[in-house]
């Protein structure tokens, strides 16, 4: 469903080009659970943004199902983000003046869903991630783990096919992190395609496959349960 061919992303900083992604070749099937690892600055977030249609590659082609994303205009990309893709971020990005319930309702407001349906679906989604009791609380009244669960409910409220998570546990203690990861696994079990960027081998371990980026190139591919071997191998190569 996701097919990346020869993807490059170059940033111009002054007259100095920064090669964030170089000739990335990858295919991700529907329902897969993929982890992206790699050192800081290796291009993980850049890749995730391109897959999420927030950014466009400077070269190469990206096919999403049978559409060539490079051919679509900004309006069509916005529609894809609205209906097919969900995002979860390291810093949650909840709107601070809105309650948990209202944060989850927000995408539905802009997608013109009727009020009663929004209410009902948001409540169910909050229940599903275990923060139904905190529906009327503001983000500042919630713990980090609860905030990320609200963000997860928001990301999935319009039933996307793909969920993209950039360091979803990066700001959480290990226990709250585990709760969030379990929820992500559950969504994946229900058929959601899941792509997680992480520095944490325990997070990558849960994935079907792991892609390791180094300097904008895919350096290694491995099944999730063999990630530790791959990482030690990479570490040896470094020395």
């Amino acid at each position: 469903m996701i097919r990346l061919e020869g993807i490059c992303r170059t940033f111009e900083v002054g007259d100095q080009p920064v090669y964030a992604l170089v000739d990335v070749q990858e295919e991700i099937r529907a329902g897969e659970h993929v982890a992206i690892m790699g050192p800081s600055g290796s291009g993980k977030s850049t890749l995730l943004n391109i897959v999420g249609c927030l950014d466009r590659p400077t070269a190469g082609s990206y096919h999403l199902d049978d559409r060539e994303v490079g051919q679509l205009d900004d309006g069509e990309l916005t529609q894809i983000r609205r209906h097919e893709i969900g995002f979860v971020f390291q810093f949650f990005h909840l709107v601070s003046r809105l309650t948990a319930q209202e944060n989850v309702e927000m995408p539905m407001v802009f997608a013109n869903l009727p009020r009663a349906e929004r209410r009902e679906r948001a409540r169910q989604a909050l229940d599903a991630v275990g923060v139904g009791a905190r529906a009327d609380h503001l983000p500042e009244q919630l713990s980090g783990g609860e905030r990320q669960r609200v963000a997860l409910a928001r990301a999935t409220i319009l039933r996307p096919k793909i969920l993209l998570a950039d360091e979803p546990t990066g700001n959480l203690d290990s226990k709250s992190g585990r709760v969030v990861l379990d929820l992500l696994d559950g969504l994946n079990d229900d058929g959601l395609t899941l792509i997680v960027v992480t520095h944490d081998a325990r997070v990558a371990h849960r994935a079907d496959r792991v892609i390791v980026l180094v300097d904008g190139k895919i350096a290694k591919r491995a099944p999730g349960d063999r990630i530790n071997e791959v990482l030690s191998l990479l570490a040896e190569e470094d020395e």
Partner: protein
Amino acid sequence: MRPVEVLRFSLKALTGHSLRTALSLLGVMIGVAAVVVLTALGEGARLYVVDQFNSLGTNLLIVLPGRTETSGTMGIGGVPNDLTLEDAQAIAREISQARRVAPISMGTEEVAFRERSRQIVVLGTTSEYQHARRVQLQRGEFLPDEELFRGANVAVLGHKAAKELFDNRDPIGAVVRVGGWRMRVIGVLAKQGTKMGVNFDDLVIVPVRTGMKMLNRSSLFRILIQVHAHTDLDLARDRVVDLITERHEEEDITVITQDAVVSTFSAILNTLTLAVAAIAAISLSVAGIGIMNVMLVSVSERTSEVGLLKAVGVNNRQILTVFLAEASLISIAGGLIGLGTGWLIVRTVVRLWPAFPATTPLWAVGAALGVSIVVGVVFGVIPARRATGLDPIAALGQR
């Protein structure tokens, strides 16, 4: 996205920053209230002046001795001929448009009753004057209809003059001395204040012939002519000028129409109102810049929110709508509150000074509201565009 949802979302954002919102509301409010109050005062002043003139009578021509324009027609000495009672008589006889002709002489004299005396204005005229100037009587009668040159020894006192000389006694029938002349009081004017610079409350009115003798004048002060209809004014003026010119063998009078004075005043005050409204409108634009600042701060504070909106698939049109709605809400709400405040102030003015007919003209209400809404939208565009122009990845990079 339904308008209700846009409003709900924008309102939430505004109430989330209540101090900021209140301050920019205040800016718009002051601007609109200023327009409402200032135009009401201007319009009130205009109505007041027009009303003052109208209460002095309408369709009036005033003949003054001497020419106000410089011209070579006058004699070397530049002294005009006397304006006489005969002139007034000729006007009444010859000018068919003249409905009433009231010659006027004026001066000050001592008026005394027993041991009390006052120095006040003596106005000599005829019975015609009462109707031409709409003089109201409180008691007794006005000057009698008599032969112009007879000059009976009767007097009509102003309200205050009567009070000062007689306290609460009835002055009718009493004899007062006016500059040594013994005059019988036949009437007292109703209280009417100052009109055209003459205090009608503190004067004594006597027959014109008596007045001229008493004040030792050979020339009349004015001749007041009331014509039958407004449309007669111009023709009557020309004919009066011709007639007097023929009688004096030179053009040595000035004839003004009171309407011309009224419309000049009215035009001046209208211009003043407009100017004041324009100044107030400028203060509204300043309020608009305030809105723009508030919205710019709002957008930069909410950068990561905008990034998030973009990530969840909110399109640029929706983002633009939301931010424009916030700016418009401020300006519309500020406009309405300003309108209400202005109205209250105008009401208070009217209550405190009932004689002053302060009233906001409808055009000013429309203009104030219109400008405030336009200001909100126009000054909301730049911040809203800045929001839609944000790069979502960079925006989300901020915590």
